[in-house]
């Protein structure tokens, strides 16, 4: 993954796409870029697209959970989209705690989820 983390702005929400192999350095880049962008744009929601990740293991799952927690501290909500069947099975088999993470089938559904009133 290049140093430029693509972050799209969709109204009051942001969308970040995770791709390829996540390594420690790229993860730091992503965390820095996403937190700064959320703070700068005062976004209320973040869509994390993981459909481009080649491997999702417990490390990647922790990365995603951390990102969700950081964004929540900045006052925004997150939704994960594009979890592939094999990835879903792996996460469940690994027993990675993902119950607090909201998921959607695709970006459209994810945006709909983010648009709903807060308070849940």
């Amino acid at each position: 993954m290049s140093d430029d983390i693509p972050i799209l702005r969709l109204g009051p929400n942001l969308m970040v796409t995770l791709q390829g192999n996540l390594e420690d350095t790229t993860v730091e880049h992503i965390e820095r870029a996403v937190t700064h962008e959320v703070a700068r744009t005062r976004a209320t929601g973040l869509l994390i697209d993981v459909s481009g990740l080649s491997i999702v293991d417990s490390f990647v799952a922790r990365v995603i959970a951390r990102l969700v927690a950081m964004v929540r501290l900045l006052g925004a909500r997150s939704t994960i989209v594009g979890i592939q069947p094999a990835v879903a099975i792996t996460l469940v088999e690994l027993g990675v705690p993902m119950s607090h993470v909201r998921t959607a089938l695709n970006a459209e559904q994810g945006m709909a989820l983010l648009r709903e009133p807060t308070g849940r």
Partner: protein, 397 residues
């Protein structure tokens, strides 16, 4: 012994003494009908009979019964009489019934031009014969093996011996392969890949290498081979070459694949996913779920969810006779995996016994929603799809 004078008798007794000292050979005299006339220590050592037991009995007692009955003894005596000698090798019988491999020489005794008897000289060659057999054994064994290819390769992988089994397997004759590299039996892509060299190196390093893979016959056809390579080393441990044993497993492989295909088809048929409404899938689970079927069910369902972008899936378990811990856990894992993909699940068709069992088993239900009938489940599903996205999130059952 009364046919000669006293001087001859003396000489004969010297001969007898000499013969008595021969212990490695049996040297005896027979009369013209093959009846044993003399005996000595060497003969006793060989056949275990004492002089009292054997003198006066026919020489045929030393032959195996079936050979004696076939007239073999008379035939040998006739040959000796007519030609001056009869040399033969064959199995002979000791007093205790055990057999030994003997070389026998029969020569006639002439008195005034008439055959009055025979001298029989025999020697036990059992040991030599066994050594011969042992030496022949390896070669003969190799020749006899036709279901396997057993060949020698030199240390660089060049073919140094061929066998009937190898001919049968690969269609090449000995002349066509000797001195050629073993890679001539490999598939083109494996040759490019240097597979033969790698396999030989592994065998040399690890003391043995076994593999299965495609090999090529002379006519270019392929067969699925099981191959074992064993390095041969001299006394100093230096590599001399390899013994290669190969076998055609094509038939077994085809059968295995057929069984696998049929199993896949049955699994495919047994876990159908039905789209009942826009964005709503139903998975009717019927019959007993073993781990293989359960895994297949999950894979199939999640793939369908991704393909159809289904928002709700109904798992109907009214056709499952019994729910044990494994099955229940697996269903819940499937529900969780579907949720991670962004799809809500509704369980339907839970029978009273099943409900009791699931709770008694202490299985954590998590956020699972359940309805009594497929009709109610479908109603809930339509509500979720038609309603706001929030309804997709777990609500109280």
């Amino acid at each position: 012994m009364g046919y000669a004078g006293a001087v001859v008798s003396d000489e004969l007794s010297y001969y007898q003494q000499m013969i008595d000292n021969i212990t490695e050979y049996e040297v005896i005299r027979l009369d013209d009908n093959g009846i044993v006339q003399s005996w000595h220590a060497g003969a006793e050592r060989l056949t275990q009979y004492t002089a009292e037991e054997i003198i006066g009995r026919p020489v045929s007692v030393f032959y195996p019964p079936e050979e004696a009955a076939s007239g073999r003894v008379e035939q040998d005596l006739r040959i000796a009489r007519d030609t001056g000698r009869c040399e033969s090798e064959g199995w002979r019988v000791r007093k205790d019934g055990s057999q030994f491999w003997a070389s026998t020489l029969l020569t006639p005794i002439h008195v005034h031009g008439t055959v009055v008897g025979y001298v029989k000289v025999s020697r036990d060659l059992t040991e030599r014969r066994e050594q011969q057999l042992a030496a022949l054994g390896a070669e003969q064994m190799l020749e006899a093996i036709t279901d396997y290819e057993v060949i020698r390769l030199d240390r660089d992988g060049y073919v140094r011996s061929w066998s009937p089994g190898a001919s049968r397997l690969k269609q090449y004759t000995e002349e066509e392969v000797l001195g050629h590299h073993v890679s001539m039996f490999y598939a083109e892509e494996d040759v490019r890949d240097g597979l033969a060299e790698r396999e030989l190196a592994t065998a040399a390093r690890e003391g043995r290498f076994e593999t299965e893979g495609w090999r090529v016959r002379k006519d270019g056809s392929r067969f699925w081979a099981n191959v074992t390579l064993s390095p041969i080393r001299d006394s100093t441990g230096e590599l001399l070459g390899y013994v290669k044993v190969a076998r055609d497993l094509s038939e077994r492989r085809e059968q295995e694949q057929l069984v696998q295909r049929q199993r896949d088809e049955i699994l495919e048929l047994s876990t159908p996913v039905i789209q009942v409404w826009d964005k709503i899938l139903v998975l009717p689970v019927i019959g007993t779920l073993d781990s293989l079927r359960a895994a297949r069910l999950t894979d199939g369902l999640l793939e369908r969810i991704a393909r159809d972008q289904a928002e709700v899936v109904i798992l109907d378990i009214s056709g499952v006779p019994a729910i044990d811990t494994d099955v229940a856990q697996h269903l819940l894992k499937t529900v969780e995996a579907a949720r991670l993909m962004g799809t809500a699940s509704v369980l339907s068709g839970v029978r009273p016994e099943t409900a009791q069992a699931i709770v008694h088993l202490g299985i954590e239900l998590g956020t699972l929603r359940s309805r009594n009938s497929l009709r109610d489940a479908l109603q809930l599903a339509l509500q979720i799809v038609g309603g706001t996205a929030a309804e997709r999130e777990p609500v109280d059952v």
